[in-house]
Symmetry: C2
């Protein structure tokens, strides 16, 4: 059975020393988030995830969700009880608006808890995860009445939410969607159509489920400019605002999936279900993107969360499993063999994962801070800067972190040899669960296109210029210290290569958009390396400062420097290959006729 220990120490290092969140105590929510409170919350979160969620992760995968003959859906054994505790302990309201009963704590703190939830139980974490997306849309686009009707119950976790986008014939291209919304006389709408891949689409955890559904009004223009967003509760609310009559949101089936079996991915048939327009008619795509963007950073963190737990189990196994001898002579001479952690190729796989996990954790939490700053910073300039940066980083975090997260689940499974292929070690579950992250909330190819097609050029390139400026400042701050040379050197080269790739895109993507398309994924991964290299440089600088200041825990900081050096020296050179690949342009990619594949 797999193990999990929440990385609280590393999260506190990032919050307190790298991001220095204490300096934002002038902002709402941050004032309350004193170091003691933050630490206490993370410790409690760790306990909840380790003791309540992790023990039902493997069993939940084996059992899966069940659709009963009467159309109701039940979650695996233990999920309902765990969800009750989740609600009772206040985890559902951690970062929500106090106006609706939330605790109003910083998002960056919520991100820490999110990572732990994913590591301990990805399928379970998706239930509140989807609620968060739905709440974001209601918060931004809902009327006051809608907010008062739905948010307090959702914040409290009594009700959950979903996002209903995909239909059998369209996912990425939402312009083709067919679900209809016919006006009723009372101002509501009758929603009819089939939605597929609806995560947390039905279950027994909450009293009601608030579906946010994309559909077309009768007078809707064709394509994406004719999509509206509707609130469709599973149960209509009675006069007191409590769940009443069933709203004809019928579960046609639960999808048979590769993984995340503990989450009920539903095919939902809306059959004249009562829905309420949210936001302006025909502008549902905008609201949908509000949900999606929040969700995309979350999905990026899922890449990290899966990689982290798979890595922890691989470390445990590599320390325990004795097999063969070290190439440099026995390290466990009294035993029949050495533990496999002595082997450089096992180390290589562990170091790849560790170096990614720690840097992607820093990047994710930085992003969490930026989300807060974009809303709460004192000046418009600061808010805009943070917003630009979040917009730019979102596709990179989603696309790169989930590709890498999957890769390190696979390599951590590999460390188990044949035992990793057997269900009971739990390693193959991490691989199957992590795989969805590369697909949902916009497949990673779409993230890459979003990056090169939208984000790079947005506002005249303001975001990417701000990134280069920020990275140059970080690098400058680390200069002149020999211990930091591997960091400043590799980051400097990475930035130069990223600049060259960006220039190439500007020059060649305009001339032939297929050049941008053919370059998009290598470019996104190139950017990902620079982002992680930047995080390592920041963490390395903090570490040398701590060592110079005579920290009482020098090993922690020395390990940071060693892990970071590994990343800069062994992972960053991949940039050269990505740059060469993208600079070949679209010609060879598009050379064949479609018939000739």
């Amino acid at each position: 059975m797999p193990i999990y220990r929440a990385p609280v120490k590393d999260q506190l290092f990032i919050l307190n020393e790298v991001l220095n969140i204490g300096k934002y105590s002038n902002l709402p929510g941050y004032a309350e988030a004193t170091p003691d409170l933050v630490s206490a919350i993370l410790e409690e979160g760790a306990k909840f995830c380790e003791n309540e969620l992790q023990p039902i992760n493997y069993s939940g995968d084996r059992e899966g969700c069940t659709r009963h003959e009467d159309g109701t859906v039940t979650t695996p054994k233990g999920y309902k009880e765990a969800y009750q505790k989740f609600v009772e302990n206040g985890w559902s309201s951690l970062t929500s608006d106090p106006e609706y009963g939330g605790q109003g704590l910083p998002h960056v703190l919520g991100f820490c808890f999110e990572e732990m939830m994913i590591s301990s139980n990805h399928a379970f974490a998706m239930y509140p995860g989807l609620s968060a997306g739905a709440m974001a849309a209601i918060t931004i686009d809902g009327t006051d009445e809608q907010k008062q009707t739905y948010l307090p119950k959702m914040v409290a976790g009594e009700w959950t939410g979903t996002m209903n986008l995909t239909e059998p014939h369209c996912g990425t291209d939402l312009g083709m969607l067919r679900t209809k919304a016919e006006p009723n006389e009372d101002g509501s709408y009758a929603i009819s159509g089939t939605k597929i891949f609806i995560s947390a689409g039905d279950h027994d955890l909450a009293e009601n489920i608030i579906h946010l559904v994309l559909a077309r009004l009768p007078d809707a223009p064709k394509g994406v400019k004719g999509i509206s967003l509707f609130i469709v509760p599973k149960y209509k609310l009675d006069a007191d605002g409590n769940p009443g009559e069933f709203n004809n949101v019928n579960v046609a089936s639960i999808e048979e999936k590769m993984g995340i079996h503990g989450n009920s991915t539903c095919v939902l048939n809306y059959e004249g279900s009562e829905g309420y327009l949210i936001g302006e008619p025909h502008k549902g795509l905008k609201s949908m993107f509000i949900m999606m963007n929040a969700a995309r950073i979350g999905v990026g963190m899922q890449g990290l969360g899966n990689s982290e737990v798979a890595y922890q189990n691989a470390v445990e196994y590599a320390r325990d499993r004795i097999q063969g001898r070290s190439l440099t002579g026995p390290k466990n001479p009294d035993g029949a063999a050495d533990p496999i952690i002595v082997h450089p190729d096992v180390r290589r796989m562990l170091m790849n994962a560790k170096a990614f996990n720690e840097a992607s954790r820093a990047a994710s939490l930085w992003c969490g801070l930026l989300v807060d700053l974009a809303h709460k910073a004192e000046t418009e300039e600061e808010r805009q800067w943070a917003d630009d940066m979040v917009s730019l980083l979102t596709p990179i975090i989603k696309g790169v972190f989930t590709d890498r997260g999957f890769e390190y689940c696979v390599s951590s499974q590999q460390i188990f040899g044949g035992h990793g292929y057997i269900a009971e070690t739990g390693m193959e579950q991490f691989v199957r669960d992590a795989r969805i992250c590369q697909i949902y909330e916009g497949a990673n190819g779409i993230q890459a296109l979003d990056l090169v097609g939208r984000k790079l050029g947005a506002n005249g390139g303001r975001g990417v210029q701000a990134f280069f400026k920020y990275a140059a400042e970080v690098r400058e701050s680390a200069k002149g210290d020999d211990r930091l040379r591997p960091f400043t050197d590799a980051l400097g080269q990475g930035l130069k290569d990223l600049q060259q790739a960006t220039m190439w895109l500007m020059q060649n993507g305009m001339a032939n958009p297929d050049n941008a398309g053919a370059a998009s994924t290598p470019y996104m991964h190139l950017f990902g390396h620079v982002l992680l290299g930047l995080m390592w440089t920041q963490m390395a600088k903090v570490s040398t400062d701590a060592l110079d200041a005579g920290t009482s825990d020098p090993t922690f900081y020395e390990n940071k420097l060693a892990t970071g050096r590994y990343y800069m020296k062994r992972r960053m050179p991949e940039i050269k290959a990505l740059l060469a690949e993208l600079e070949t342009g679209a010609e060879d990619v598009m050379a064949l006729d479609a018939a000739n594949f």
Copy 2:
């Protein structure tokens, strides 16, 4: 439901034009393999795989194998009938020795059929696959009596075979194995112990199962020098050589695995089972390696087989699924959207897989030819050259082709978006099935160590020198033609980089063996790129020759050139990253104390 079309045309291109097997008609088996016969056999093989094996692949995965209360094991619906046809149609004896009833056809032909079997049904293909390994050991190490007793039945497919290596506490490090062989009075041995991960360990396809089991004699020295190999039939043979009394080979359980559910991976308890020593006492490891080496090339081809079928389905989906518009304007203006094959990032994924599949097919079949030449070539010099080359290439084919094969199953699944994550498209099965190839028959990290630790230095580096010489000749033959410049340039650079990496290993691996260990996987993948680049250069040369000769099918050869250019220009640059990674040595890989992960 997935589709599959055997790549007969491409296999014939490789056999007849690239490898030119007609020129070996002086060798046993090749004389019979006339172009017409080869073509007829491949067409028949394609029919069998497409019509009999592929249709039960998905259902076999869903159903899995069953261990009944009485300890017997049944395979999924349709497997037994398909196996009967497999035997009746003579597929089990295709390349076996005519002395034991085999057809004696070239191994290179058997390799073609093997690829088709894996693509159409990986789990099924493992039953005869394991028999082949067991037959190889009996052929080489068995006494005449043992050969006469077992081979005719196994060649005919009436009995199957297995390889029993792994025990719960040891897989890679066989020196620790504990299964005991106690001498009986009649010269046989009583075998007792538990073996795990035994593929095709029990089933209802054949009358008897001939287990080849590693065990220790009472006087065995410790470690790998005390392992002996035994033949242990599931049913002891009666006086007429027919299966009689049950031999106490008990199926404790069928492992719950990530994939290949149609194959019964068993935990076998030997309880005083009667076994017969094969080969010399304490030298079982040598015999085991005979089985393993044959099997390793086969497993490499499994990487290709899975990648090929996943790719074919991705192509089909990419041509059919309409979603979004081409970046360069509508390509299907009358439809609601364009097929997704118009998108460069979809093309990128398809081209990656296609360029790998075609070159790895060429490399595998070349290896099949080399296996034949190592046994049958006229001069000792030719046999030695072929044997050196097979030894060198085996770990590369196993390690690189299975890593890449898995990668392209994943990217082909990615093209399906959310639909790829749902079981019914069959894409996630390819991913789960392909995953085992990186693990079994020596995990890929072991392949990399075999390459740098054994194969490179074997016979004073004779194999790797022969490879460089051969590659230089191929490159030379393609020089001076502008159409081949992308090939000769990239191959030239690749060979230079491979030489540099090999030199680095020689200089630094001696000084500190951990340097070799830390470099092993990047080195193996670097070598893999050069091997595939070499194959593309050969195929490109053949293609320009055919075009110059006025072929009637110019599109075929032009597509070869375009696909090859893609590989040389977009994939080969990865070598630079691998070289930079390996040249950093072991220091950063080994920097942390084991306790600090």
